[in-house]
Amino acid sequence: MRERKPSPTDEELAAWAAAGDREAFGLLVERYQRRLTGFLAQIVGDLELARELTQETFIRVWGALGRFDDSYRFSTWIFRIAHNLGVDHLRRRRVPTTSLQVEDRDGRETQRDLEDRGRDPLGHLENRELAEALRRSIEMLRPEYRELVLLRHFAGLSYREIAELEDMPLGTVKNKLFRAHSVLREALAEYL
């Protein structure tokens, strides 16, 4: 691996990886894998599937690094690839968006007992009631708000990165996220 400064930018790592530096690519994987998995898990509603799609995203990125235009941010590029993969997967497999609510024989709504909590995107939260409330709150957001919340909090993108990715003015991103947060705070008031 070439000599590099202590904290190279994503774009520098991408350029080195494009030239065949696997270690540089490994650093990008470390930087992005958790955020990609969290983001994809919210899109497809299944943590295991999200991990598979995260792998697929990185394989595609590795193959496409030669076409990466470094006048853009690496973060927005990789999340665009991940988003497309997640949405394509939903279309192809017609995976239902996860609803943990099911009706029992008497028509009462009960929480589905996930056989494998490891597949639940919020399964790591110990407070199950809070996890369920959070899942419902995110699910009930308007799609345009939900998308921005996922990009901000699960993908960890800045407001500017979101504006670039969504091709939206920065002010619009700020306003929409402000409203989305207000909706979430209201829905989760008893837990905040």
Binding site: R35, T37, P121, H153
Partner: protein, 173 residues
Amino acid sequence: MEPSCEIVRQALDESGGDPMMLGEASRRHLAACRRCAREAAAARRLRELLDAAVPPADPVLRERIMARLPARSRVRLLSLVPAAVGGLLLAGGAAAVGGVPGAGLAAMAPGISVGAGLAAAGGIGGLVNAGAVALQAIHTVVPRVVPLVAGGAAGLGAALIALGARRLGRSRA
């Protein structure tokens, strides 16, 4: 000028309730305004909850991904495919329009075969006249179309070569 509650709350929302991210005037406002202070606390708790909602990293995922990566040389070879196709198209196009010495014969081939066809057809008689007329039409059209198609192919070939060279250049950068 003191910022309004609305401006301070918008800034708090962006900062996830972190007062240290605010400007000095907004921090002063926050210290004096109870409602904004409550907003700051709620924004902070929401951010903490959402932060905690991101699943922990899978410790083996990195190794799995790295093990699945194809060799970079293969990726590079794939990037050369358009250039190779472009080369073939360019050479074929140039040969067809006679740009390569001796290869102009290829362009003449349709004319020769059509001429032979016409001679043979004339010998058979009137019934074949219709076929001869058709062949004549082809004879007229083909020589005009061939240079056009060949020129197009050569142009496309050159563009593909340029694309391949650009990709290769980037992957080496």
